[in-house]
Each structure stands twice: as structure tokens, then as C-alpha cells.
């Protein structure tokens, strides 16, 4: 029982980060069908900028705000300077552009920051909380709570605001959205900005637990992508479910099956899920119209 709770929280904490990255993927995918492989770099920027801003003397809240702004600016620049000029290119071409962007951002980060690992102090102390015998870090609760708040905020934005509805309309049918007067360019820019912000917040929340360095983005992009596909891309709920599930899979596979092959177990499950449900767990099943 103790072990179960421990594994559960380990999986959920890791999974929450995957979920946030997957959510970032989903937003940009909805607006453009592009899988943005630079998504992990936003998480990296969130953590690294906060670390260096704090070193420069800023208090945590200000440093975090600055980090989110830097990530959003990076996201907007990525859209304006790389995605927008390649407008009309195939989806695969745009994906390669985002891969190039991720190499570029990482390349700049290693110069602007450094190549060391860095930590942030936990927001509310390091003393583990005992829950049913398991030891939970307070920061894990920050991560879970923060992720939940982001998901809720995003849901409210999508459902309750005009801009959010424009994003959803664009996702449903870009041409139709354009016909009713939605500037899909703005929607896409917005998607990049929001994705970047979500990634950065995730990076800030999780750095006290996981540490950060200029190179953490690649692996997160990979895992986040897998999580988004497991949940069914294009579905924000799917992204969250996929992310949490991937985290849990890794944790329980490490605890119960084999720590060496835990990533293998996770991907094996993803393969099996896709064989059974080719659109992911919650993806839209499209009937091909001819």
C-alpha cells in the first residue's frame, strides 16, 4: 500500500510535466497541424531563466514571471520568424523547421547560460509530507496543483472567451474559421504564445524537483509527444490523460517490472494502445468521406 502510493505520486508528478508538454503540443497542433518539437525548449527556458534571474538577485515570483515572458517572446519569435515565413509548406517541412528551432534555442542557451545543472529552492520547503505512509515532497503538490490550475484555466479560456472560441473554431476547420472572419494567423501566434507559457510554467514548477540544464528540452519533447499521441492528439483532455498515464506507466514499470526497461514498457503499452485504438485513447475517430 505504501509502495503503491509512493509509485502513484512519483508517476503523477512526472506525468504532470509530460501532460503540460503534451498540452503545448496539442494547442499548436490544433491551430496548425504542426507538431512543434521545440516545445521542450520552453520548459527548459522556464527553468533556466528563473535560475539565472534568481542568481542575479530577483525574488522567485519576479524571476518566474520574467521566465514566462522570455518563453512567450521566444514562442512568438519562433512563430513570426520561422513558422510564418514557411506558410504554405507541408506539415513535414514545418516540423523540420521546429526541429531546427529547437537546435537553435538549445545552441543559444548553452552560450547565454552555461552547461551546468541547476536547481531551484522548493517553494515551500523540502520536508516530505507523510501520506498513507508514503513520503511526498511538497513541491510535487505544487506541480500537480499548478498543472491542474493550468488545465482549468485553459479550459475556461477555450470555453468562455471569444478568443478561445476562435482557437477552437480554427482547430475544427481552418477555412471555415477564416470565412467567418477569424484571423487564423493571430490564432496561431496565440497558440505559440500560450504553449510557450504553459511549457515555461511547467519548467519553473518542476525544476526544484528535477533540476534543469540547457539540454533538458529534447527528452521532454520526446516524452510529451508520445503522451500527446497516447491520449489522442488534438484533444486537450487526451493530452492530460496521456501525460499522466505515461508518467504512471514509467513509475510502475520501474517499481514492479524492470527499472532498466521502464521506458521500453511505456512505449510497448503505447504501441499496443495504438494498435487497438489508432487515434489514441481519446482522439477523434474520423470516418473517411469519399
Amino acid at each position: 500500500m505504501v509502495e503503491l502510493v509512493q509509485l502513484l505520486f512519483a508517476g503523477l508528478t512526472t506525468g504532470a510535466v509530460y501532460a503540460l508538454v503534451a498540452l503545448g503540443f496539442t494547442l499548436i497542433f490544433q491551430a496548425s497541424e504542426v507538431v512543434n518539437f521545440a516545445q521542450g525548449e520552453f520548459v527548459m527556458l522556464g527553468g533556466m531563466v528563473t535560475v539565472f534571474a534568481m542568481k542575479a538577485g530577483l525574488p522567485l515570483p519576479l524571476a518566474a514571471l520574467l521566465a514566462v515572458l522570455v518563453a512567450v517572446a521566444t514562442g512568438l519569435l519562433l512563430h513570426r520568424l520561422a513558422i510564418e515565413p514557411a506558410k504554405g509548406a507541408t506539415v513535414v517541412t514545418l516540423i523540420i523547421v521546429t526541429i531546427g528551432a529547437s537546435i537553435l534555442i538549445r545552441g543559444l542557451a548553452q552560450i547565454v547560460f552555461d552547461k551546468q545543472f541547476h536547481a531551484l529552492p522548493a517553494f515551500t520547503g523540502d520536508e516530505p509530507i507523510r501520506l498513507l505512509g508514503a513520503a511526498i515532497l511538497p513541491q510535487s503538490l505544487w506541480v500537480l496543483g499548478g498543472a491542474a490550475a493550468i488545465v482549468l484555466g485553459l479550459w475556461l479560456f477555450m470555453e468562455r472567451t471569444l478568443l478561445g472560441k476562435a482557437v477552437r473554431a480554427t482547430a475544427a476547420n481552418r477555412l471555415a474559421a477564416e470565412l467567418v472572419g477569424i484571423d487564423t494567423r493571430v490564432v496561431l501566434a496565440l497558440a505559440f504564445a500560450v504553449s510557450a507559457a504553459i511549457g515555461a510554467v511547467g519548467g519553473i514548477l518542476v525544476t526544484p524537483i528535477t533540476l534543469t540544464s540547457y539540454a533538458v528540452g529534447t527528452l521532454l519533447a520526446l516524452k510529451g509527444f508520445a503522451a500527446a499521441m497516447l491520449g489522442g492528439i488534438g484533444n486537450p483532455v487526451g493530452a492530460v490523460v496521456g501525460g499522466l498515464l505515461l508518467g504512471l506507466l514509467e513509475s510502475f514499470a520501474a517499481g514492479w517490472i524492470s527499472s532498466t526497461y521502464k521506458d521500453g514498457v511505456a512505449f510497448l503499452v503505447i504501441l499496443l494502445v495504438l494498435f487497438a485504438l489508432p487515434q489514441g485513447l481519446l482522439g477523434r475517430r474520423a470516418v473517411e468521406r469519399v
Partner: protein, 261 residues
């Protein structure tokens, strides 16, 4: 025994019955038209018969053999070819290559020979090419053979699909709205093509909205309404069937009368 026979086809999408107890039969050289208002289930029927959708009830027989639920490529091998209402063109290929793909089943595909580019493969390429050129000439696209399909106008693409389907040398050709979006000249062209195809002994099943075309070339007409068969018979019989007039032709017949006047 008819060449192609569908009986009691029923299919539902999420509770919505798209087809219910529909059937038809067609013989070599015969032209069967399937008509009905939008949403009557015409294209769905095509998709079931050609293996794209799996029906929940009913059966399809080709030359007396049960072919229900067989995948499209197997049905193609048995002699069933079709075109699409919304074009399905290979846009990355030339017009000629589009038709050459239609020769797929007639080509002997031995991967090793193909990889090595053996003379037999080259000879086969030449043969497919020659046959495709003939077909393009038949549909009036000979001069545009080498153009990329993406450069052809809509009407030409409709005929390109017919040529591609004919390249399979089908026993039954199923045409889904071959004249949709075509101008009167193009429509007449397609009219001529269909009759020529039928004369060679191919059974033709077509879905069409252009009533003039239907009345002119069909041997028999099947009328669907809301997924159910409404009437079947010669163009004359259907035209004078009171149910059809009431449910369907009444409105259209009036329009036709206006157009004729």
C-alpha cells in the same frame, strides 16, 4: 443470375440508418442509374458495394459469388471499378501515370525484377503506358497525358478518373456523379463515353443528379429515398411512378419542365 447483385443492404452510422434493405442488380452492357435526393444513401451504397464500408446486413454477389465485405483491392481484382464524387486523383503524378496505376492488376509485379529494372519490367512499363495512352485518347485527354494531374481542370479530372477505372478492364464500372460540376459540353462528352463503355459489354452503375443525362442513357433507374428503395424500373416507368413524382421527381420534374420550356 446477374453480373453484380446487391441484396438487402443495411448500414447505420451511430444510430442513423443510412441504408435499409437496399438492393439492385445489373447485367453486362446494362446502364443502371441510382438517383435520389441528397442524403438518400447513394454514395454510401457505392461505398458498401466497393468494399470501403462494411454493411451490417445484406450481401453483395459478383458473378454469383458472395463478395460481401471483401476489401476494395480484392473486389477490383474481381472486376469492380469505380470513380468518386469528390475526386480522388493522384495529384503528384501525371495524367498518364494516374491511368497507368489503373493497370496495376494487369501488371506482373515481381519485386526483384522491378528493383533490378529487368527488361521484362521495362517492357511491361511500355505496355501499360501504351494502354494508358489509348484510354486517355478514349476520354479525350491524349494531349494532356504528360501534364501533372494537378494542372488539369475539374472536368478533365472527372474523365481522368473514368480512364483510370477503365484501365482495370472492369466488368462493372461504378460512376459516382460523373457529370457533377461539368458544363453542358463536358456532360455530353461523358454521356457519349458511358454509352461507348456499355456498348463494349461493361455493366455501368451510376449515381447522378443530372436527370437529363440519366433519362437519356439509363436502361433502368433505381430511386432511393432516405436510405430506402422507393422505385425501380425503366426511365419511363420511374418517371411516371406516382410515388417518385410525389417524393422526388415532382419537384425536380417541375424544374425540368421549366428548363425545357
Amino acid at each position: 443470375m446477374s453480373l453484380l447483385e446487391a441484396r438487402g443492404i443495411g448500414i447505420a452510422f451511430g444510430g442513423l440508418r443510412a441504408l435499409d434493405g437496399v438492393g439492385f442488380a445489373v447485367d453486362p452492357g446494362e446502364v443502371l442509374a441510382i438517383i435520389g435526393p441528397n442524403g438518400a444513401g447513394k454514395t454510401t451504397l457505392f461505398n458498401v458495394v466497393t468494399g470501403l464500408y462494411r454493411a451490417q446486413s445484406g450481401e453483395v454477389r459478383l458473378e454469383g459469388r458472395d463478395v460481401t465485405g471483401l476489401p476494395p483491392h480484392v473486389l477490383a481484382a474481381r472486376g469492380l471499378a469505380r470513380t468518386f464524387q469528390n475526386l480522388q486523383i493522384f495529384f503528384r503524378m501525371s495524367a498518364l501515370e494516374n491511368v497507368m496505376v489503373g493497370r496495376h492488376l494487369k501488371e506482373r509485379r515481381r519485386l526483384w525484377a522491378e528493383l533490378l529494372g529487368l527488361p521484362s519490367v521495362l517492357a511491361e512499363n511500355r505496355a501499360s503506358r501504351a494502354r494508358a495512352l489509348e484510354l486517355l485518347a478514349f476520354v479525350g485527354l491524349a494531349e494532356r497525358a504528360e501534364e501533372p494531374a494537378s494542372a488539369l481542370p475539374y472536368g478533365a479530372l472527372k474523365r481522368l478518373e473514368i480512364a483510370r477505372a477503365l484501365a482495370c478492364e472492369p466488368k462493372v464500372l461504378m460512376l459516382d456523379e460523373p457529370a457533377a460540376g461539368c458544363n453542358p459540353v463536358e456532360t455530353e462528352e461523358i454521356d457519349r463515353l458511358i454509352l461507348a463503355i456499355a456498348r463494349k459489354g461493361t455493366a455501368v452503375v451510376l449515381v447522378e443528379h443530372d436527370m437529363k443525362l440519366v433519362m437519356r442513357i439509363s436502361d433502368r433507374v433505381l430511386v432511393l429515398d432516405q436510405g430506402r428503395p422507393l422505385a425501380e424500373g425503366t426511365p419511363q416507368q420511374v418517371r411516371s411512378d406516382p410515388r417518385v413524382i410525389e417524393a422526388y421527381l415532382g419537384r425536380l420534374g417541375l424544374e425540368a419542365a421549366h428548363a425545357a420550356a
